[in-house]
Protein backbone atom coordinates (compact mmCIF):
# COMPACT_ATOMS: atom_id res chain seq x y z
CA UNK A 1 0.00 0.00 0.00
CA UNK A 2 1.34 3.41 -0.95
CA UNK A 3 2.10 5.91 1.81
CA UNK A 4 -0.09 8.47 0.06
CA UNK A 5 -2.95 5.97 0.18
CA UNK A 6 -2.47 5.46 3.93
CA UNK A 7 -2.46 9.21 4.37
CA UNK A 8 -5.60 9.42 2.25
CA UNK A 9 -7.36 6.87 4.48
CA UNK A 10 -6.42 8.77 7.64
CA UNK A 11 -7.46 12.13 6.23
CA UNK A 12 -10.64 10.71 4.76
CA UNK A 13 -11.60 8.93 8.00
CA UNK A 14 -10.98 12.03 10.07
CA UNK A 15 -12.89 14.31 7.70
CA UNK A 16 -15.74 11.91 7.44
CA UNK A 17 -15.91 11.54 11.24
CA UNK A 18 -16.11 15.31 11.59
CA UNK A 19 -18.80 15.53 8.96
CA UNK A 20 -20.96 12.52 9.68
CA UNK A 21 -20.83 11.86 13.39
CA UNK A 22 -23.63 13.60 15.19
CA UNK A 23 -23.41 14.97 18.71
CA UNK A 24 -26.08 12.45 19.62
CA UNK A 25 -24.04 9.42 18.64
CA UNK A 26 -20.90 10.84 20.21
CA UNK A 27 -22.92 11.62 23.36
CA UNK A 28 -24.36 8.11 23.38
CA UNK A 29 -20.93 6.56 23.22
CA UNK A 30 -19.51 8.92 25.84
CA UNK A 31 -22.48 8.36 28.18
CA UNK A 32 -22.38 4.58 27.94
CA UNK A 33 -18.64 4.46 28.48
CA UNK A 34 -19.07 6.86 31.41
CA UNK A 35 -21.62 4.59 33.07
CA UNK A 36 -19.38 1.59 32.49
CA UNK A 37 -16.44 3.49 33.94
CA UNK A 38 -18.47 4.58 36.97
CA UNK A 39 -19.46 0.97 37.62
CA UNK A 40 -15.84 -0.10 37.30
CA UNK A 41 -14.84 2.59 39.83
CA UNK A 42 -17.48 1.39 42.30
CA UNK A 43 -16.25 -2.19 41.93
CA UNK A 44 -12.63 -1.11 42.27
CA UNK A 45 -13.48 0.73 45.48
CA UNK A 46 -15.46 -2.18 46.90
CA UNK A 47 -12.45 -4.39 46.23
CA UNK A 48 -10.17 -1.83 47.84
CA UNK A 49 -12.41 -1.64 50.92
CA UNK A 50 -12.60 -5.40 51.10
CA UNK A 51 -8.82 -5.70 50.90
CA UNK A 52 -8.20 -3.13 53.59
CA UNK A 53 -10.82 -4.77 55.82
CA UNK A 54 -9.24 -8.15 55.25
CA UNK A 55 -5.84 -6.71 56.06
CA UNK A 56 -7.21 -5.71 59.44
CA UNK A 57 -8.38 -9.19 60.31
CA UNK A 58 -6.10 -10.64 62.96
CA UNK A 59 -6.18 -13.31 65.61
CA UNK A 60 -5.47 -12.43 69.21
CA UNK A 61 -4.12 -15.39 71.13
CA UNK A 62 -4.34 -14.86 74.92
CA UNK A 63 -1.72 -16.53 77.07
CA UNK A 64 -2.22 -18.33 80.36
CA UNK A 65 -1.22 -16.29 83.41
CA UNK A 66 2.14 -16.83 84.97
CA UNK A 67 4.04 -18.12 81.94
CA UNK A 68 7.80 -17.71 82.26
CA UNK A 69 9.60 -15.62 79.59
CA UNK A 70 10.92 -18.89 78.18
CA UNK A 71 7.37 -20.24 78.06
CA UNK A 72 6.21 -17.13 76.24
CA UNK A 73 9.08 -17.47 73.76
CA UNK A 74 8.21 -21.14 73.20
CA UNK A 75 4.57 -20.27 72.47
CA UNK A 76 5.70 -17.53 70.06
CA UNK A 77 7.86 -20.06 68.20
CA UNK A 78 5.00 -22.52 67.97
CA UNK A 79 2.60 -19.88 66.65
CA UNK A 80 5.17 -18.72 64.16
CA UNK A 81 5.59 -22.32 63.03
CA UNK A 82 1.84 -22.76 62.46
CA UNK A 83 0.85 -23.15 58.83
CA UNK A 84 -0.74 -19.99 57.41
CA UNK A 85 0.71 -17.52 59.90
CA UNK A 86 2.31 -14.40 58.43
CA UNK A 87 3.26 -12.27 61.41
CA UNK A 88 3.32 -12.54 65.18
CA UNK A 89 3.55 -9.56 67.57
CA UNK A 90 3.62 -9.68 71.39
CA UNK A 91 1.11 -7.52 73.24
CA UNK A 92 1.88 -7.31 76.94
CA UNK A 93 -1.00 -7.03 79.38
CA UNK A 94 -0.09 -3.38 80.01
CA UNK A 95 -0.05 -2.61 76.29
CA UNK A 96 -3.38 -4.43 75.97
CA UNK A 97 -4.90 -2.28 78.69
CA UNK A 98 -3.59 0.89 77.10
CA UNK A 99 -5.14 -0.08 73.77
CA UNK A 100 -8.44 -0.96 75.46
CA UNK A 101 -8.51 2.45 77.16
CA UNK A 102 -8.01 4.04 73.77
CA UNK A 103 -10.88 2.05 72.29
CA UNK A 104 -13.28 2.77 75.18
CA UNK A 105 -12.59 6.50 75.02
CA UNK A 106 -14.84 8.38 77.44
CA UNK A 107 -15.93 5.20 79.11
CA UNK A 108 -12.34 4.25 80.03
CA UNK A 109 -13.33 5.04 83.64
CA UNK A 110 -15.01 1.65 83.76
CA UNK A 111 -11.56 0.06 83.90
CA UNK A 112 -10.80 1.86 87.18
CA UNK A 113 -13.78 0.08 88.73
CA UNK A 114 -12.21 -3.25 87.83
CA UNK A 115 -9.03 -2.28 89.69
CA UNK A 116 -6.13 -4.60 88.74
CA UNK A 117 -5.35 -5.16 85.07
CA UNK A 118 -7.59 -8.10 84.16
CA UNK A 119 -6.03 -8.67 80.75
CA UNK A 120 -3.63 -11.54 80.04
CA UNK A 121 -0.52 -11.21 77.86
CA UNK A 122 -1.29 -11.95 74.20
CA UNK A 123 0.03 -12.35 70.67
CA UNK A 124 -1.45 -10.52 67.67
CA UNK A 125 -1.29 -12.91 64.75
CA UNK A 126 -1.72 -11.97 61.10
CA UNK A 127 -2.62 -14.72 58.69
CA UNK A 128 -1.40 -15.09 55.13
CA UNK A 129 -4.86 -15.68 53.71
CA UNK A 130 -7.83 -14.07 55.52
CA UNK A 131 -10.06 -16.88 54.22
CA UNK A 132 -8.19 -19.34 56.44
CA UNK A 133 -8.50 -17.25 59.61
CA UNK A 134 -10.78 -19.61 61.53
CA UNK A 135 -8.73 -22.66 60.61
CA UNK A 136 -5.47 -21.03 61.76
CA UNK A 137 -7.16 -19.73 64.92
CA UNK A 138 -8.35 -23.24 65.80
CA UNK A 139 -4.81 -24.58 65.45
CA UNK A 140 -3.33 -21.83 67.60
CA UNK A 141 -5.93 -22.41 70.30
CA UNK A 142 -4.61 -25.96 70.71
CA UNK A 143 -1.05 -24.79 71.47
CA UNK A 144 -0.18 -25.39 75.16
CA UNK A 145 0.04 -22.11 77.07
CA UNK A 146 -2.64 -20.46 74.93
CA UNK A 147 -5.71 -19.60 76.98
CA UNK A 148 -7.97 -18.81 74.05
CA UNK A 149 -8.24 -17.00 70.75
CA UNK A 150 -10.34 -14.15 69.50
CA UNK A 151 -10.66 -13.09 65.86
CA UNK A 152 -14.14 -11.63 65.77
CA UNK A 153 -15.68 -15.06 65.28
CA UNK A 154 -18.84 -14.90 63.24
CA UNK A 155 -18.20 -11.37 62.02
CA UNK A 156 -15.10 -12.30 60.02
CA UNK A 157 -16.89 -15.18 58.31
CA UNK A 158 -19.82 -12.95 57.39
CA UNK A 159 -17.53 -10.22 56.11
CA UNK A 160 -15.64 -12.65 53.91
CA UNK A 161 -18.85 -14.19 52.54
CA UNK A 162 -20.28 -10.75 51.77
CA UNK A 163 -17.11 -9.72 49.96
CA UNK A 164 -17.20 -12.87 47.86
CA UNK A 165 -20.81 -12.20 46.93
CA UNK A 166 -20.10 -8.58 46.05
CA UNK A 167 -17.18 -9.67 43.88
CA UNK A 168 -19.23 -12.20 41.90
CA UNK A 169 -22.25 -9.90 41.54
CA UNK A 170 -20.00 -7.03 40.51
CA UNK A 171 -18.29 -9.11 37.85
CA UNK A 172 -21.66 -10.25 36.50
CA UNK A 173 -23.04 -6.70 36.36
CA UNK A 174 -19.82 -5.48 34.73
CA UNK A 175 -20.04 -8.19 32.06
CA UNK A 176 -23.66 -7.22 31.34
CA UNK A 177 -22.64 -3.59 31.09
CA UNK A 178 -19.78 -4.32 28.71
CA UNK A 179 -22.22 -6.22 26.50
CA UNK A 180 -24.71 -3.33 26.63
CA UNK A 181 -22.03 -0.76 25.79
CA UNK A 182 -20.73 -2.85 22.89
CA UNK A 183 -24.30 -3.06 21.62
CA UNK A 184 -24.95 0.67 21.97
CA UNK A 185 -21.67 1.73 20.39
CA UNK A 186 -22.06 -0.86 17.64
CA UNK A 187 -25.55 0.35 16.87
CA UNK A 188 -24.44 3.97 16.78
CA UNK A 189 -21.71 3.15 14.26
CA UNK A 190 -24.17 0.96 12.34
CA UNK A 191 -26.56 3.88 11.88
CA UNK A 192 -23.74 6.03 10.50
CA UNK A 193 -22.83 3.29 8.06
CA UNK A 194 -26.45 2.71 6.96
CA UNK A 195 -26.85 6.40 6.24
CA UNK A 196 -23.94 6.06 3.86
CA UNK A 197 -24.93 2.85 2.09
CA UNK A 198 -25.36 4.81 -1.12
CA UNK A 199 -21.90 6.26 -0.81
CA UNK A 200 -20.47 2.77 -0.39
CA UNK A 201 -22.39 1.61 -3.46
CA UNK A 202 -20.95 4.44 -5.56
CA UNK A 203 -17.45 3.62 -4.36
CA UNK A 204 -17.90 0.01 -5.40
CA UNK A 205 -19.24 1.05 -8.81
CA UNK A 206 -16.16 3.11 -9.59
CA UNK A 207 -13.92 0.14 -8.88
CA UNK A 208 -12.87 0.57 -5.25
CA UNK A 209 -11.76 -2.64 -3.53
CA UNK A 210 -13.49 -3.62 -0.30
CA UNK A 211 -10.48 -2.65 1.78
CA UNK A 212 -10.19 0.70 0.09
CA UNK A 213 -13.75 1.42 1.21
CA UNK A 214 -13.33 -0.12 4.63
CA UNK A 215 -10.20 1.68 5.81
CA UNK A 216 -11.67 5.19 6.13
CA UNK A 217 -14.62 3.70 8.05
CA UNK A 218 -12.23 1.98 10.45
CA UNK A 219 -10.37 5.25 10.97
CA UNK A 220 -13.69 6.99 11.48
CA UNK A 221 -14.78 4.37 14.02
CA UNK A 222 -11.47 4.79 15.79
CA UNK A 223 -11.81 8.58 15.92
CA UNK A 224 -15.39 8.36 17.21
CA UNK A 225 -14.44 5.76 19.82
CA UNK A 226 -11.45 7.81 20.88
CA UNK A 227 -13.31 11.10 21.19
CA UNK A 228 -16.29 9.49 22.95
CA UNK A 229 -14.02 7.66 25.36
CA UNK A 230 -11.89 10.77 25.98
CA UNK A 231 -15.00 12.77 26.90
CA UNK A 232 -16.23 10.06 29.26
CA UNK A 233 -12.74 9.55 30.72
CA UNK A 234 -12.23 13.21 31.53
CA UNK A 235 -15.72 13.49 32.99
CA UNK A 236 -15.21 10.36 35.06
CA UNK A 237 -11.87 11.57 36.38
CA UNK A 238 -13.34 14.93 37.40
CA UNK A 239 -16.47 13.41 38.95
CA UNK A 240 -14.41 10.91 40.91
CA UNK A 241 -12.20 13.60 42.34
CA UNK A 242 -15.25 15.48 43.58
CA UNK A 243 -16.85 12.26 44.82
CA UNK A 244 -13.79 11.23 46.81
CA UNK A 245 -13.64 14.62 48.52
CA UNK A 246 -17.33 14.25 49.39
CA UNK A 247 -16.87 10.77 50.86
CA UNK A 248 -13.77 11.88 52.75
CA UNK A 249 -15.74 14.68 54.40
CA UNK A 250 -18.87 12.65 55.07
CA UNK A 251 -17.52 9.19 55.95
CA UNK A 252 -13.76 9.35 56.50
CA UNK A 253 -13.68 5.78 57.86
CA UNK A 254 -14.47 4.34 54.41
CA UNK A 255 -11.13 3.55 52.76
CA UNK A 256 -11.83 4.73 49.17
CA UNK A 257 -9.13 4.85 46.50
CA UNK A 258 -7.55 8.28 46.61
CA UNK A 259 -4.44 7.66 44.48
CA UNK A 260 -4.92 8.96 40.93
CA UNK A 261 -3.07 6.09 39.23
CA UNK A 262 -5.78 3.39 39.32
CA UNK A 263 -8.40 5.90 38.15
CA UNK A 264 -6.13 7.09 35.35
CA UNK A 265 -5.48 3.47 34.37
CA UNK A 266 -9.22 2.92 34.18
CA UNK A 267 -9.61 5.95 31.92
CA UNK A 268 -6.88 4.61 29.62
CA UNK A 269 -8.67 1.25 29.55
CA UNK A 270 -11.91 3.01 28.59
CA UNK A 271 -10.05 4.84 25.84
CA UNK A 272 -8.67 1.61 24.43
CA UNK A 273 -12.07 0.00 24.69
CA UNK A 274 -13.72 2.90 22.85
CA UNK A 275 -11.15 2.77 20.05
CA UNK A 276 -11.39 -1.00 19.74
CA UNK A 277 -15.18 -0.99 19.69
CA UNK A 278 -15.22 1.79 17.08
CA UNK A 279 -12.86 -0.12 14.81
CA UNK A 280 -14.66 -3.44 15.20
CA UNK A 281 -18.11 -1.91 14.74
CA UNK A 282 -16.96 0.09 11.71
CA UNK A 283 -15.40 -2.99 10.11
CA UNK A 284 -18.30 -5.33 10.84
CA UNK A 285 -21.09 -3.07 9.63
CA UNK A 286 -19.40 -1.83 6.48
CA UNK A 287 -18.94 -5.43 5.42
CA UNK A 288 -22.68 -5.84 5.10
CA UNK A 289 -22.91 -3.05 2.52
CA UNK A 290 -19.98 -4.16 0.43
CA UNK A 291 -21.97 -6.70 -1.57
CA UNK A 292 -22.78 -4.48 -4.55
Amino acid sequence: MRLTTVWYFLAEGWRSARRNVSLISLGTIAASLFVLGALALILMNLDHISQSLQARIEIRAFLEDGLSPEGVAAVREQIRGTDGVAQVAFVSKDEGLRRLRGQLGERAGLLDVVGDNPLPDAFDVRVEDPERTSEVAARISRIPGVLGVNYGQGFTEKLLATMRLVGVAGAAVAALFVAAVVFIVGNTVRLTVISRAREIEVMKLVGATDWFIRWPFLVEGMVVGLVGAAISGLLLFACYKVGVRYVAALAPFIPVITAPEPVAALCVALLLMGVLMGIVAGGVFVKRYLRV
Binding site: R2, T4, Y8, V202, M203, G207, T209
Partner: protein, 239 residues
Protein backbone atom coordinates in the same frame (compact mmCIF):
# COMPACT_ATOMS: atom_id res chain seq x y z
CA UNK B 1 -12.13 -4.57 -35.33
CA UNK B 2 -11.63 -6.77 -32.28
CA UNK B 3 -14.66 -8.08 -30.44
CA UNK B 4 -14.66 -6.54 -26.98
CA UNK B 5 -17.95 -7.73 -25.53
CA UNK B 6 -19.68 -11.02 -26.19
CA UNK B 7 -23.00 -12.27 -24.81
CA UNK B 8 -23.74 -15.97 -25.23
CA UNK B 9 -27.47 -16.75 -24.81
CA UNK B 10 -27.68 -14.60 -21.72
CA UNK B 11 -30.85 -14.55 -19.65
CA UNK B 12 -31.51 -12.70 -16.45
CA UNK B 13 -34.65 -13.41 -14.47
CA UNK B 14 -34.90 -11.52 -11.19
CA UNK B 15 -36.00 -13.27 -8.00
CA UNK B 16 -39.43 -11.60 -8.24
CA UNK B 17 -39.93 -13.19 -11.67
CA UNK B 18 -39.30 -10.05 -13.71
CA UNK B 19 -37.41 -10.73 -16.92
CA UNK B 20 -34.35 -8.55 -17.45
CA UNK B 21 -32.88 -10.25 -20.46
CA UNK B 22 -33.99 -13.29 -22.47
CA UNK B 23 -31.58 -15.40 -24.47
CA UNK B 24 -29.56 -12.45 -25.66
CA UNK B 25 -26.77 -13.21 -28.12
CA UNK B 26 -24.68 -10.33 -29.38
CA UNK B 27 -21.22 -8.85 -29.64
CA UNK B 28 -19.76 -5.36 -29.59
CA UNK B 29 -16.47 -4.46 -31.26
CA UNK B 30 -13.73 -2.24 -29.91
CA UNK B 31 -14.27 1.44 -30.70
CA UNK B 32 -17.96 1.12 -31.50
CA UNK B 33 -20.65 3.58 -30.44
CA UNK B 34 -23.79 1.60 -29.71
CA UNK B 35 -27.25 2.77 -28.69
CA UNK B 36 -29.40 0.48 -26.60
CA UNK B 37 -33.01 1.48 -27.17
CA UNK B 38 -36.39 0.24 -26.11
CA UNK B 39 -39.23 1.07 -23.74
CA UNK B 40 -38.81 1.11 -19.97
CA UNK B 41 -38.35 -2.40 -18.65
CA UNK B 42 -37.03 -3.65 -21.98
CA UNK B 43 -33.75 -4.75 -20.39
CA UNK B 44 -31.39 -1.87 -21.23
CA UNK B 45 -30.22 -1.37 -17.65
CA UNK B 46 -29.93 -5.13 -17.07
CA UNK B 47 -27.71 -5.32 -20.18
CA UNK B 48 -25.38 -2.68 -18.71
CA UNK B 49 -25.47 -4.04 -15.18
CA UNK B 50 -24.38 -7.42 -16.51
CA UNK B 51 -21.32 -5.84 -18.14
CA UNK B 52 -20.42 -4.13 -14.83
CA UNK B 53 -21.22 -7.30 -12.90
CA UNK B 54 -23.76 -5.51 -10.78
CA UNK B 55 -25.98 -8.49 -11.52
CA UNK B 56 -25.14 -12.01 -12.63
CA UNK B 57 -27.03 -13.76 -15.44
CA UNK B 58 -29.29 -16.68 -14.56
CA UNK B 59 -28.09 -18.36 -17.74
CA UNK B 60 -25.39 -17.83 -20.36
CA UNK B 61 -21.92 -16.28 -20.38
CA UNK B 62 -20.77 -12.67 -20.56
CA UNK B 63 -17.26 -11.92 -21.81
CA UNK B 64 -15.95 -8.38 -21.38
CA UNK B 65 -12.49 -7.41 -22.59
CA UNK B 66 -11.30 -11.00 -22.35
CA UNK B 67 -12.74 -11.56 -18.87
CA UNK B 68 -15.52 -14.00 -18.12
CA UNK B 69 -17.77 -11.88 -15.95
CA UNK B 70 -19.81 -14.82 -14.68
CA UNK B 71 -16.89 -16.89 -13.47
CA UNK B 72 -14.94 -13.93 -12.11
CA UNK B 73 -13.91 -13.99 -8.44
CA UNK B 74 -15.40 -11.16 -6.32
CA UNK B 75 -11.89 -9.79 -5.74
CA UNK B 76 -11.48 -9.27 -9.50
CA UNK B 77 -14.66 -7.19 -9.83
CA UNK B 78 -13.04 -3.84 -8.89
CA UNK B 79 -10.54 -4.28 -11.72
CA UNK B 80 -13.33 -4.99 -14.21
CA UNK B 81 -15.07 -1.81 -13.07
CA UNK B 82 -11.94 0.22 -13.69
CA UNK B 83 -11.92 -0.93 -17.31
CA UNK B 84 -15.69 -0.57 -17.69
CA UNK B 85 -16.86 2.78 -16.38
CA UNK B 86 -20.44 3.87 -16.17
CA UNK B 87 -22.37 7.13 -16.33
CA UNK B 88 -25.68 7.04 -14.51
CA UNK B 89 -28.95 8.84 -15.06
CA UNK B 90 -28.86 10.00 -11.43
CA UNK B 91 -25.12 10.83 -11.71
CA UNK B 92 -24.23 8.91 -8.51
CA UNK B 93 -21.74 11.51 -7.31
CA UNK B 94 -20.46 11.42 -3.75
CA UNK B 95 -22.29 14.34 -2.12
CA UNK B 96 -19.53 15.08 0.39
CA UNK B 97 -16.82 15.47 -2.19
CA UNK B 98 -16.19 18.37 -4.54
CA UNK B 99 -16.35 17.91 -8.30
CA UNK B 100 -12.57 17.57 -8.33
CA UNK B 101 -12.55 14.99 -5.51
CA UNK B 102 -15.32 12.99 -7.16
CA UNK B 103 -13.31 12.68 -10.34
CA UNK B 104 -10.07 12.06 -8.42
CA UNK B 105 -11.73 9.25 -6.47
CA UNK B 106 -11.92 7.10 -9.60
CA UNK B 107 -8.11 7.32 -9.83
CA UNK B 108 -7.49 7.12 -6.07
CA UNK B 109 -9.02 3.65 -5.96
CA UNK B 110 -6.34 2.53 -8.41
CA UNK B 111 -3.69 3.96 -6.06
CA UNK B 112 -2.30 6.17 -8.83
CA UNK B 113 0.36 8.62 -7.70
CA UNK B 114 -0.86 12.04 -6.58
CA UNK B 115 0.91 14.02 -9.29
CA UNK B 116 -0.65 11.85 -11.97
CA UNK B 117 -4.06 12.19 -10.32
CA UNK B 118 -3.81 15.98 -10.30
CA UNK B 119 -2.81 16.20 -13.95
CA UNK B 120 -5.42 13.79 -15.24
CA UNK B 121 -8.30 15.11 -13.15
CA UNK B 122 -7.59 18.65 -14.32
CA UNK B 123 -7.45 17.43 -17.90
CA UNK B 124 -10.73 15.51 -17.57
CA UNK B 125 -12.51 18.48 -15.98
CA UNK B 126 -11.27 20.69 -18.80
CA UNK B 127 -12.41 18.19 -21.40
CA UNK B 128 -15.97 18.19 -20.03
CA UNK B 129 -15.84 21.96 -19.69
CA UNK B 130 -16.30 22.48 -15.95
CA UNK B 131 -12.75 23.12 -14.79
CA UNK B 132 -14.02 26.33 -13.20
CA UNK B 133 -16.43 24.38 -10.97
CA UNK B 134 -13.78 21.99 -9.63
CA UNK B 135 -14.27 23.12 -6.04
CA UNK B 136 -18.06 23.00 -6.08
CA UNK B 137 -19.99 20.24 -4.32
CA UNK B 138 -22.59 18.28 -6.34
CA UNK B 139 -25.39 20.08 -4.51
CA UNK B 140 -24.10 23.38 -5.85
CA UNK B 141 -24.11 22.21 -9.47
CA UNK B 142 -26.91 22.03 -12.04
CA UNK B 143 -28.03 18.68 -13.44
CA UNK B 144 -26.02 19.17 -16.62
CA UNK B 145 -22.92 20.12 -14.65
CA UNK B 146 -23.30 17.12 -12.36
CA UNK B 147 -23.57 14.86 -15.39
CA UNK B 148 -20.40 16.41 -16.77
CA UNK B 149 -18.60 15.63 -13.51
CA UNK B 150 -19.90 12.09 -13.77
CA UNK B 151 -18.60 11.88 -17.37
CA UNK B 152 -15.23 13.23 -16.24
CA UNK B 153 -15.12 10.61 -13.49
CA UNK B 154 -15.91 7.89 -16.01
CA UNK B 155 -13.25 8.87 -18.53
CA UNK B 156 -10.44 9.98 -16.23
CA UNK B 157 -8.98 6.49 -15.96
CA UNK B 158 -9.06 5.94 -19.74
CA UNK B 159 -11.55 3.06 -19.61
CA UNK B 160 -11.84 0.52 -22.39
CA UNK B 161 -15.61 0.68 -22.26
CA UNK B 162 -17.90 3.50 -21.27
CA UNK B 163 -21.48 2.64 -20.36
CA UNK B 164 -24.00 5.45 -20.23
CA UNK B 165 -27.39 4.62 -18.75
CA UNK B 166 -29.84 7.33 -19.87
CA UNK B 167 -27.17 10.00 -19.33
CA UNK B 168 -29.44 12.66 -20.77
CA UNK B 169 -32.60 11.42 -19.07
CA UNK B 170 -32.80 14.33 -16.63
CA UNK B 171 -31.40 17.03 -18.88
CA UNK B 172 -32.87 19.55 -21.29
CA UNK B 173 -32.22 19.15 -25.02
CA UNK B 174 -29.34 21.64 -25.31
CA UNK B 175 -27.50 20.18 -22.36
CA UNK B 176 -28.19 16.69 -23.71
CA UNK B 177 -26.49 17.50 -26.99
CA UNK B 178 -23.54 18.87 -25.04
CA UNK B 179 -23.19 15.55 -23.25
CA UNK B 180 -23.57 13.67 -26.55
CA UNK B 181 -20.81 15.72 -28.11
CA UNK B 182 -18.60 14.74 -25.18
CA UNK B 183 -19.38 11.06 -25.58
CA UNK B 184 -18.56 11.27 -29.27
CA UNK B 185 -15.20 12.87 -28.52
CA UNK B 186 -14.43 10.15 -26.00
CA UNK B 187 -15.44 7.52 -28.54
CA UNK B 188 -13.11 9.08 -31.10
CA UNK B 189 -10.23 8.64 -28.65
CA UNK B 190 -10.84 4.89 -28.88
CA UNK B 191 -13.19 4.15 -26.01
CA UNK B 192 -16.11 1.87 -26.83
CA UNK B 193 -19.33 3.65 -25.82
CA UNK B 194 -22.63 1.93 -25.10
CA UNK B 195 -25.50 4.23 -24.32
CA UNK B 196 -28.99 3.32 -23.22
CA UNK B 197 -31.58 5.94 -24.11
CA UNK B 198 -35.22 6.76 -24.77
CA UNK B 199 -34.30 9.88 -26.62
CA UNK B 200 -35.34 9.36 -30.25
CA UNK B 201 -33.94 12.61 -31.60
CA UNK B 202 -30.49 11.83 -30.24
CA UNK B 203 -30.44 8.32 -31.68
CA UNK B 204 -31.78 9.49 -35.01
CA UNK B 205 -29.40 12.41 -35.15
CA UNK B 206 -26.30 10.29 -34.72
CA UNK B 207 -26.98 7.32 -37.03
CA UNK B 208 -24.92 4.79 -35.12
CA UNK B 209 -25.42 1.14 -34.37
CA UNK B 210 -28.74 0.57 -32.62
CA UNK B 211 -29.65 -2.49 -30.59
CA UNK B 212 -33.34 -2.49 -29.74
CA UNK B 213 -34.63 -4.47 -26.81
CA UNK B 214 -38.19 -5.40 -25.95
CA UNK B 215 -39.25 -7.48 -22.97
CA UNK B 216 -35.66 -8.64 -22.54
CA UNK B 217 -35.21 -9.78 -26.14
CA UNK B 218 -32.98 -8.24 -28.79
CA UNK B 219 -35.53 -7.43 -31.49
CA UNK B 220 -33.34 -5.35 -33.81
CA UNK B 221 -29.66 -4.69 -34.45
CA UNK B 222 -28.92 -2.10 -37.16
CA UNK B 223 -25.41 -0.90 -38.06
CA UNK B 224 -26.59 2.65 -38.80
CA UNK B 225 -29.96 2.62 -37.23
CA UNK B 226 -32.74 4.95 -36.22
CA UNK B 227 -35.26 4.73 -33.42
CA UNK B 228 -38.98 4.91 -34.06
CA UNK B 229 -41.12 7.52 -35.72
CA UNK B 230 -38.72 10.44 -35.60
CA UNK B 231 -36.21 8.58 -37.77
CA UNK B 232 -36.91 10.72 -40.79
CA UNK B 233 -36.53 14.14 -39.18
CA UNK B 234 -33.61 13.59 -36.88
CA UNK B 235 -31.05 16.24 -36.10
CA UNK B 236 -27.53 15.77 -37.36
CA UNK B 237 -24.72 16.43 -34.98
CA UNK B 238 -21.61 18.07 -36.33
CA UNK B 239 -18.36 16.14 -35.87
Amino acid sequence: MMTLIRLYSVSKVYPNGAVGLLNADTYIRQGEFVFLVGPSGAGKTTFMNLLMRQVLPTQGQVIVDGRNVVRMRPSEVPYLRRAVRMIFQDYKLLPNKTAYENVAFALRVTEANPRQIRARVTEALELVGIADKARAYPGELSGGEQQRVSVARAIVGDPTILLADEPTGNLDLDTSWGIMELLLRINKRGTTVIMATHNRSIVNGMMRRVIELDCGKIVRDDERGAYGREADHGMVLPG
